[in-house]
């Protein structure tokens, strides 16, 4: 029976795994047995890069309040889908880190609980509070505000540009053929083009006192068509400033190599530029019109699960602990993104780069979180890419507005 020994071992292992597998499947269905639910332990899903920043706050909270806080590092790309799928089974965390534009999806799926900031709401940057509110209810405790700005190579162009054309002219005077880069790609990148669109007075949705109004689609207004025409004139058949072949990596390389003096991007890319020895200055987005070019603001924060068995502790931990200046500054150090708490934002702004982004952020508008935005994203970039590549601007833009309208009212 020589061979049998191996097969027996294998069989044992198989049976063990199978039993465990079955048991865990069913525990998922039942929802009453998740360890996250046991009282006295808060399970928090955190972007893996920020676990260390939050650890001190978690430990301090455990010590003071006697509630254990367990931080689980998650890949940022998976957090939202995992959260939406796990909360209804009762196995998800009590709190998760996330971004405000998830709010529509989370709320439509009923997986987030409202959070009451109380009087502390006044201590946050207004854009952070606006972004954390969905249909009049606050669901998120904000910790950082993020927006794009123009990174300028101060060695090549010592002075900030006053307008879009001035920026191109300054770059060309410095001897560059492609002075300005912004990431696009084959399917376009409306997030990065949005500042120019707002300069023409074409937001995506109109807004009412509860936030963005999905029934009031503004993208196809006259300003939108002017923007489209301008975009076409800066595309393949025009000046060539915008090019869908430039993706994130190519744009980064061009700036780092010094072949581009201006780069429209977010704080997440500043490290790469300073590490490469570029003397970086942060400018507002130069407007192609007389109006201000406002980028989207993305606000990051924490959500409480609607199925959490520890809502009291979760609220207390977020409002009274994460909402303090020390913790917000600690999180700032981990990500270098402007804190959402005004006092912490002021302290962080001693850094000129952060101050630069904050100045641009003062003009930013929250990215719409309403689910209707999903319908916009799927047509928006592709229409812009078509226009950049030479399609007729006005008809393409009108088709975009019609497609979005049809998808929303479906």
């Amino acid at each position: 029976m020589r061979v049998n020994k191996k097969s027996l071992l294998a069989a044992g292992a198989v049976a063990v795994i199978a039993t465990l597998g079955l048991a865990s499947c069913s525990a998922g269905d039942s929802g009453s047995e998740g360890e996250a639910s046991s009282s006295g332990t808060l399970t928090v899903w955190v972007d893996a890069e920020r676990v260390d920043a939050l650890q001190a706050a978690a430990d301090a909270y455990s010590e003071e309040k006697g509630v254990k806080v367990e931080l689980v590092g998650k890949d940022n790309a998976d957090i939202k889908d995992d959260f939406i799928q796990q909360v209804p089974t009762g196995k998800g965390p009590d709190i998760t880190m996330g971004a405000h534009d998830w709010l529509g999806e989370l709320s439509t799926n009923g997986v987030v609980a409202p959070i009451e900031l109380g009087d502390s709401a006044a201590d946050y940057l207004p854009v952070a509070i606006d972004a954390s509110t969905y249909e009049g209810t606050t669901y998120m405790l904000p910790y950082a505000v993020e927006n794009i700005a123009v990174l300028r190579n101060a060695d090549l162009v010592p002075e900030a540009a006053t307008s879009f054309d001035d920026m191109i002219a300054k770059g060309q005077a410095a001897g560059l053929t492609q002075p300005f880069v912004v990431e696009q790609g084959a399917e376009g990148n409306p997030y990065h083009l949005y500042p120019f669109q707002t300069a023409f007075g074409a937001p995506v949705f109109g807004s009412n006192d509860e936030g963005y109004d999905p029934t009031d689609l503004q993208i196809g207004n006259a300003g939108g068509e002017q923007f489209a025409t301008w975009l076409g004139s800066q595309g393949k058949n025009g000046t060539g400033v915008f090019n869908t072949d430039i993706d994130g990596d190519i744009a980064k390389q061009a700036f780092i190599d010094g072949t581009a003096a201006f780069w429209l991007t977010g704080p997440w890319n500043v490290g790469a530029a300073t590490d490469a020895g570029i003397n970086v200055a942060i400018d507002t987005v130069p407007s192609p019109t007389a109006e201000v070019a406002s980028p989207f603001a993305g606000v990051k924060g924490f959500f409480v699960s609607s199925e959490s068995k520890n809502k009291v502790a979760a609220n207390d931990f977020l409002v009274n602990y994460i909402g303090t200046e020390d913790v917000q500054l600690e999180l700032f150090k981990a990500g270098n993104v402007l804190p959402a708490l005004s006092a912490a934002a002021e302290a962080a702004s001693s850094d000129p780069i952060v101050a630069g982004f904050a100045a641009v952020g003062a003009e930013a508008v929250p990215m719409p979180a309403i689910p209707a935005m999903g319908a916009v994203w799927q047509y928006w970039g592709i229409a812009e890419a078509d226009i950049i590549n030479g399609a007729d601007p006005v008809t393409t833009w009108q088709k975009l507005a019609a497609d979005v309208q049809a998808a929303i009212s479906k």
Partner: protein, 539 residues
């Protein structure tokens, strides 16, 4: 195996065993039983049983009776199989069968189940969850109302809120009794204790979260004044709800507008005008998803041309990789070729690099303005490899050829070498030309062994998500289509886009699609395998 060894040994043991025979006998002795083996066996089965019992206890306490019964039955069967003296085939098969059931059959059945539900964005959980979530989000803090510092107090199991109002006065109320003034012990500005009630410490507050979440102290006798609730156990706010749930009638009423939303069996509270309150809940919707996949014009139109392209892609990929692989196999099988070994290693290289990576690298090389191919090979030409609908299709096929031919090369080399040389010699002696030898003798023999692999390869390419996703992501997008589908999308990548991109997920529809794809692939495979039987008759 071992039994035959035993038999042979016992049958042929002579009076004076040779050295070899003695060794064989020893091996048989050591293997067939022995205390050690028995112990290992007992230990392993004990471990399995312990875990099974643990699982059953957990499951029973969660009232998952069906799964608990399955675990128990499987454990009993496993014990029976391995304690039996016979059941040799079962001992080998049991682990595989268990794996098959857990990782294949279960997944398949579950996908099938999801295809018949409305699982997706807005229909994510149970009805109770939807109700409690709607009720929670319908609470609105009364505008400009103050923050009330509170202390949670307990009297015989009933929770109350000891509230300090902005004037510094202490008030007490419970779920049933509205706020009323009391004499309370103050700590600074905040009332912290009152006679007859126990003040809860933070730890106790936390352990009674459920009760505190449900605690809503009416502000006055008039319910329209709202109720005080405390989200964190130390401050309370005045809330008004704009939704009312009537459990008996199963309706939600919006108190501001008076609209009644009722459960009409679609998995969400719906008003008479068809407006839905989200979140809704999961229900079984029958064949809706399948019907929608083929009749919804937004989905059906693209479905047709994507299906056609999927067939073209899979067939051309199989044909091109096979013929290139075959050609190279014949070339490198020729004895007159020098350095064949080295060439063969080179041929395998594309196969050795993970396809994710090579597809990404190809995507970079095919970039219109900055890619290696345009810049270096075509001297700065701007050929839209990935952005022109026709060229993009060609590029996808080209990259898939590059990724796929080494496999065919390996397979064909093996098959060619197994064809006896005599056949070729005999044919040559009979005066056949090389092309005739290949066409009439080698190719048919080769196909006998390779045809099943070609069918498998077709099935693989039919669902070759990696290449499409990494190289073009289905693009260039068809801007005329109402859904985000592109000119190089195959069925599986279209399903992925329809179901998983954007902010609305539809797992039910995606599952229905994957079942449709499964049926298509299965039908084609069955037909193709039947056809290849005719090839086998050649032998």
């Amino acid at each position: 195996m071992s039994t035959t060894i035993d038999d042979e040994v016992s049958a042929e043991t002579p009076q004076q065993p040779t050295k070899k025979q003695r060794r064989a006998a020893n091996i048989a002795d050591a293997a067939s039983g022995g205390l050690k083996m028995l112990l290992v066996k007992l230990l392993m089965l004990g471990l399995v049983d312990a875990i099974a019992i643990y699982g059953v206890i957990i499951l029973a306490s969660a009232e998952q009776w069906l799964v608990a019964a399955i675990v128990a039955v499987v454990a009993v069967i496993v014990n029976w199989i391995y304690f039996s003296r016979r059941k040799l085939p079962a001992k080998y098969l049991a682990p595989g069968v268990i794996f098959l059931v857990v990782f294949q059959v279960f997944v398949l059945v579950y996908t099938g189940y999801i295809a018949f539900t409305n699982y997706g964005t807005g229909h994510n959980g149970s009805k109770e969850q939807a109700v409690s979530s709607l009720m929670a989000s319908s609470l609105q803090r009364v505008e400009d109302s103050p923050t009330y510092p509170v202390t949670v107090v307990d009297q015989g199991g009933t929770l109350g809120l000891l509230v300090t109002d902005p004037d510094g006065e202490a008030l007490l109320g419970t779920n049933d009794a509205p706020l009323a003034p009391v004499d309370a012990e103050m700590d600074g500005d905040k009332a912290v204790a009152v006679d007859g009630w126990t003040t809860l410490q933070f730890g106790e507050v936390v352990t009674r979260t459920d009760e505190i979440t449900a605690l809503a102290v009416p502000f006055s006798d008039d319910p329209n004044d709202g109720a005080l609730r405390t989200p964190d156990g130390s401050s309370a706010y005045l809330y008004l709800s704009n939704l009312e749930y009537d459990e008996a009638a199963g309706t939600m009423t919006n108190l501001d507008t008076g609209t009644v939303y009722s459960d009409i069996g679609t998995g969400a509270f719906t008003s008479d005008s068809g407006e839905e309150l989200l979140p809704g809940w999961q229900i079984v919707v029958g064949f809706d998803n399948f019907v929608r996949a083929v009749t919804d014009e937004r989905l059906a139109g693209p479905l047709v041309y994507v299906t056609l392209w999927t067939f073209a892609f899979a067939l051309i990929s199989v044909a091109s990789t096979f013929f290139l692989g075959l050609f190279l196999a014949i070339v490198f099988n020729d004895m007159r070729m020098k350095g064949r070994k080295y060439y063969r290693v080179l041929m395998i290289l594309p196969y050795a690099i993970p396809s994710f990576l090579s597809a990404l690298i190809w995507a970079g090389m095919m970039n219109e303005s900055f890619g290696f191919i345009n810049q270096v090979l075509f001297g700065g030409a701007s050929i839209p490899w990935l952005t022109d609908p026709v060229l993009a299709k060609f590029s996808v096929l080209l990259v898939n050829l590059w990724l796929g031919f080494p496999y065919m090369f390996l397979v064909c080399t093996g098959a060619l070498q197994s064809i006896p040389e005599e056949l070729q010699e005999a044919a040559t002696v009979d005066g056949a030309r090389p092309w005739a030898v290949f066409r009439l003798i080698k190719l048919p023999l080769l196909l006998v062994s390779v045809a099943p692999l070609l069918i498998a390869s077709f099935a693989f390419n039919f669902n070759n998500f990696n290449v499409i996703y990494m190289l073009t992501d289905g693009g260039p997008r068809d801007s005329n289509a109402p859904i985000p589908v592109g000119f190089t999308d195959i069925l599986i990548s279209m399903v992925y886009k329809v179901a998983f991109t954007g902010q609305t997920r539809d797992y039910g529809l995606a599952s229905a699609y994957s079942i449709i794809i499964f049926v298509i692939v299965a039908v084609i495979s069955v037909i193709a395998f039947r056809r290849t039987k005719s090839l086998e008759e050649l032998n």
